[in-house]
């Protein structure tokens, strides 16, 4: 540990917001595609809500990444070779390069489903686009073509939510490089926060089919429990290198144990579990409060990982 002299990445709020919104976008496409695969009629609206948020959010993600670059006008260098334009720039061994392509293909899939959702929900009512809707429909319902597209899109959603964890884990920072559970935790957190966001939007929009909405929330709860179990593993592994573990690192350790864990993970699990599975509301509007806490917790967790993960440098 004494030999650590790696400078921190210098990532700040742009990256925290990118991780947070990218997780929701990825999780939303993942959940929406799974709902579509189920083929159940009441799940159509929650699935469309997922499509409605995935594409706009991935656009915000792209803008945040561009802004984070020292030379924003060169953002396209991440995808295309500037010396041999327009050959693609792909370094399969570099998570950042692979992530750029994941973001691109995810954006494409999210765009296709976004357009289809607008047409299916008749948000856009233009007769000339009817053939497009007919053409896209088989991709969004159970069937061979639909299964391939929806499973592929769901996989891209999980990658979108989780590749950032792989990216962190592959850096030289002692905090991140010793935490192999970051990627699955980010995936689980992305799915959970997306489920919470879809539930809250459906709830406040007064969308019908509350049973489907609550089914989405229950999936979010399962994802949050998975995240919590992974977090227990990560904390246990952190015990072997306490001086460089984000979960025990000075004030960031206190932030994790006193705020993130109780308010962002334990409280939503308790509130949602009792409301959804025990039919008991611990507080008024427990599902709404639980979903909101889940979202806040996901943001705080990204803040902890990004800022706390770079705090090791202050100790040397």
């Amino acid at each position: 540990v004494d030999s650590v002299f790696v400078a921190p990445a210098g990532w700040s709020w742009d990256i925290i917001l990118y991780f947070f919104l990218g997780g929701i976008a990825g999780g939303a496409l993942f959940l929406a595609n799974l709902l579509r695969l189920s083929g159940a009629q009441p799940t159509l609206v929650p699935a469309r809500i997922g499509y409605y948020i995935a594409f706009p959010l991935v656009n915000l993600c792209g803008l945040l990444l561009i802004k984070d670059l020292g030379r924003p006008e060169r953002f396209w260098h991440m995808l295309l070779q500037s010396e041999r334009f327009p050959l693609p720039m792909l370094k399969w061994w570099a998570p950042m390069s692979v992530g750029s392509w994941v973001l691109t293909f995810f954006g494409l899939a999210a765009f296709i489903s976004f357009v289809y959702a607008l047409l299916e929900g008749r948000v856009i009512r233009w007769d000339r686009l009817d053939p497009l809707q007919r053409w896209l429909a088989p991709l969004h319902r159970p069937g061979v073509l639909g299964a391939i597209y929806l499973v592929g899109g769901a996989g891209l959603g999980l990658l979108m939510a989780g590749y950032t964890g792989i990216l962190l884990n592959n850096t030289s920072a002692p905090t991140w490089s010793q935490d192999p559970l970051l990627a699955p935790m980010f995936m689980a957190s992305g799915v959970a926060s997306a489920g919470a966001a879809m539930f809250l939007l459906g709830h406040f929009a007064g969308a019908d089919a509350p049973s489907a909405r609550h089914a989405v929330l229950r999936v979010a709860l399962v994802a949050l429990i998975v995240e919590a179990v992974l977090l227990v593993g990560a904390v246990a592994m952190g015990l072997t290198h306490i001086s460089t573990s984000t979960y025990f690192l000075g004030l960031w350790g206190a932030f994790f144990w006193l705020i993130v864990l109780p308010l962002g993970i334990a409280a939503p699990i308790l509130l949602l579990w009792t409301a959804e599975h025990r039919d008991r509301l611990l507080v008024r509007n427990a599902p709404v409060v639980g979903a909101a806490l889940l979202l806040i917790g996901a943001f705080l967790f990204r803040t902890l990982e990004v800022l706390g993960g770079q705090a090791y440098f202050q100790l040397y």
Binding site: S12, W13, D14, I16, L17, L44, V45, R48, I49, Y52, I53, P56, L57, N59, L60, L63, L64, I66, K67, P72, L118, G121, R122, V123, L201, G202, H203, F204, A205, G206, A207, D208, A209, P210
Partner: protein, 138 residues
């Protein structure tokens, strides 16, 4: 209890910003947000924060027009910050350009989702459980 943003039996709400009674309140909030941004404008934090403000305003106002006060809040904050000497480590072109874009997009995305849901034929239809056998809402 869920608060419907509209239903097929109610007249469509006018866009929020066109209602004079709310314009002043929204303007004051935009100004406060702008000052908060100026106070925090010591590094890139505030420009990222402007996206959160935009999203928050959008989710609160529930219309894409939240982009207007979001942009106003960003401009107020940015100009105050520049006026009080915050210039170090700032890219003169990219910071205001991308910051403004994030503010606008935050408002558009945060509020626009409700505009989309208002127009979605199924998402805002009266819930079946609230309609009696001859279609009256209760």
């Amino acid at each position: 209890v869920a608060r419907p943003i509209s239903s097929s039996t109610e007249p469509r709400r006018r866009p929020v910003l066109l209602r004079r009674s709310e314009a002043g309140r929204i303007g004051i909030i935009a100004l406060v947000l702008g000052v908060v941004q100026a106070v925090l404008f010591y590094d890139h934090f505030a420009v990222a924060l402007t996206l959160l403000f935009g999203l928050g305003l959008g989710l609160w106002l529930r219309t894409w027009e939240a982009a207007v006060p979001a942009l106003a809040a960003f401009l107020v904050g940015y100009l105050l910050a520049v006026g009080t000497g915050w210039l170090h480590d700032a890219r003169p072109l990219w910071e205001p350009l991308l910051g403004g874009m994030l503010a606008v997009l935050g408002g558009v995305v945060g509020g626009g989702i409700f505009d989309v849901l208002r127009r979605d034929v199924d998402a805002t239809a009266p819930a079946p459980a609230r309609v009696d056998s001859i279609g009256r809402r209760f």
